[in-house]
Symmetry: C2
Subunit: 262 residues, 2 copies
């Protein structure tokens, strides 16, 4: 019975979870207890808040979450229209349970996915991939923890200028989140959702060891690694000359790679 299954959850006092400050703890509990605790959290987002992003039972093996095998008695209740074909493009289906008010940091995934809201409401904010330079990223995550904080205008001016796409999810709603789109999801109420990921590109571009769907595409990751070598070429130059060649490199990428130059 899925209700007895053990799950590993985030527990926090802070609605805005912060991946840098780690203002949450990990805890292993039963699904039964999680549902109890998450659904009894106050609506104001104070006290204990719980969050489950079920990673599958062996993410380190590289095998991603799969609702059917993780929760076989729950899975038949979840039926998704045919969103992609062939079905072998399927990558993972992730069960999410959330206390009211919990907000997950803004990030991108490298796989197309739909966010199926099952119970409760959620607020979704998204940014197109071409806002990457405005997102204050560390890896795949934005360091802007509270996307609505008043002092963002001072601390993260470019973030405030980035164009947001905002939506409200009701139970039964599906939100399509294309790969590389930044997204920030906030629970309005106690919520249950299932997030289904699939490979929209040829399998050869994906990192085979990626259980979460957030490791950079092989070509991108290789390019970024090589770029570190390129930047090292400039190490011996004086700061202002290094800055100059850094800008010359940026100009070159802008001209040759970007769809619309900076």
């Amino acid at each position: 019975m899925y209700i007895l299954a053990e799950v590993r959850i985030h527990v926090t006092k802070y609605p805005n979870m912060d991946f840098r400050k780690k203002n949450f703890a990990y805890e292993t509990t039963s699904m039964h207890k999680l549902l109890d605790r998450a659904s009894s959290s106050t609506e104001e987002g104070v006290g204990e808040l719980c969050y489950l992003r079920h990673a599958g039972y062996d993410p380190r093996s590289g095998s991603p979450a799969n609702l059917e095998s993780d929760f076989p008695d729950l899975a038949p209740d979840f039926c998704l229209p045919e969103l992609f074909e062939p079905p072998s493009r399927f990558f993972s289906s992730v069960l999410r349970v959330s206390s009211p008010k919990v907000r997950v940091w803004t990030h991108y995934d490298v796989l197309d996915n739909v966010y199926a809201q099952v119970v409760g409401r959620k607020k979704a904010v998204m940014w197109a991939p071409d806002e990457a330079l405005n997102m204050y990223l560390e890896g795949d995550k934005s360091v802007v923890v509270d996307i609505d904080a008043e002092d963002n205008a001072n601390r993260f001016p470019k973030f405030c200028r980035a164009q947001r796409h905002v939506g409200d999810l009701e139970p039964g709603d599906l939100l399509f989140i294309p790969s590389m789109w930044f997204h920030n999801m906030t629970a309005v109420d106690f919520g249950v959702a299932v997030n289904v990921f699939w490979r929209n590109l040829d399998a050869g571009v994906y990192d085979g060891k990626d259980a979460y769907g957030n490791r950079d595409l092989l070509q991108g990751a290789k390019g970024l690694r090589m770029l570190d070598n390129v930047m090292r070429q400039l190490d011996s130059l004086p700061e202002e000359i290094r800055d100059f060649y850094g800008r010359m490199m940026i100009a070159r990428i802008s001209k040759k790679v970007l769809s619309k130059p900076l």
Copy 2:
């Protein structure tokens, strides 16, 4: 006698010389005739305009212009304060002769230099190296041919936002042009100038085959070549994903190399 020396000049009808359209011709003439023609050009910048940037008598050999050896009977008249030491940092001294109104395209050199105005007046406009992303560069040159054109605001909006440093040179004035500073020089009158370049960094950073002082520093050139390889990694990805990783690369350079992030 320097006055009999043969020199290779630019001849044009257009005050704004354009390195892409090549709106000028090369011509070999004597210094005597050049001085005659350049000094008799109309003040309005119409008719034939001449420009000499003396490259030395064998630039292809990699040996740069040198007033002393190029024009031994003229050189003693030109005396520069000790601007750099040791004197072995000296790279080249370039004689320039210009009709009124001639404007040389905006560019940067990789060597520190002084521009010594000898005869006539010149208008100098400069931009700091950290404006590189606003200069619409092709190599070391800006494609903004007429820096004061009215439609620049539409065609080159970032160029119009870049901060200019403007100066008027009178005979006897010295203008220090640090390496990588973009500069645009316009003759107000018939003009003669000498431009003295020296190696401000260790000799090992300069391209030994550079007769003009405008080949990128070895580390910068190598970095830019390597960058082309990096960008090729992204070739097989769909356009919007390529754009995304291009921006991720730009973000990384901005963070790790620039003195002040974008």
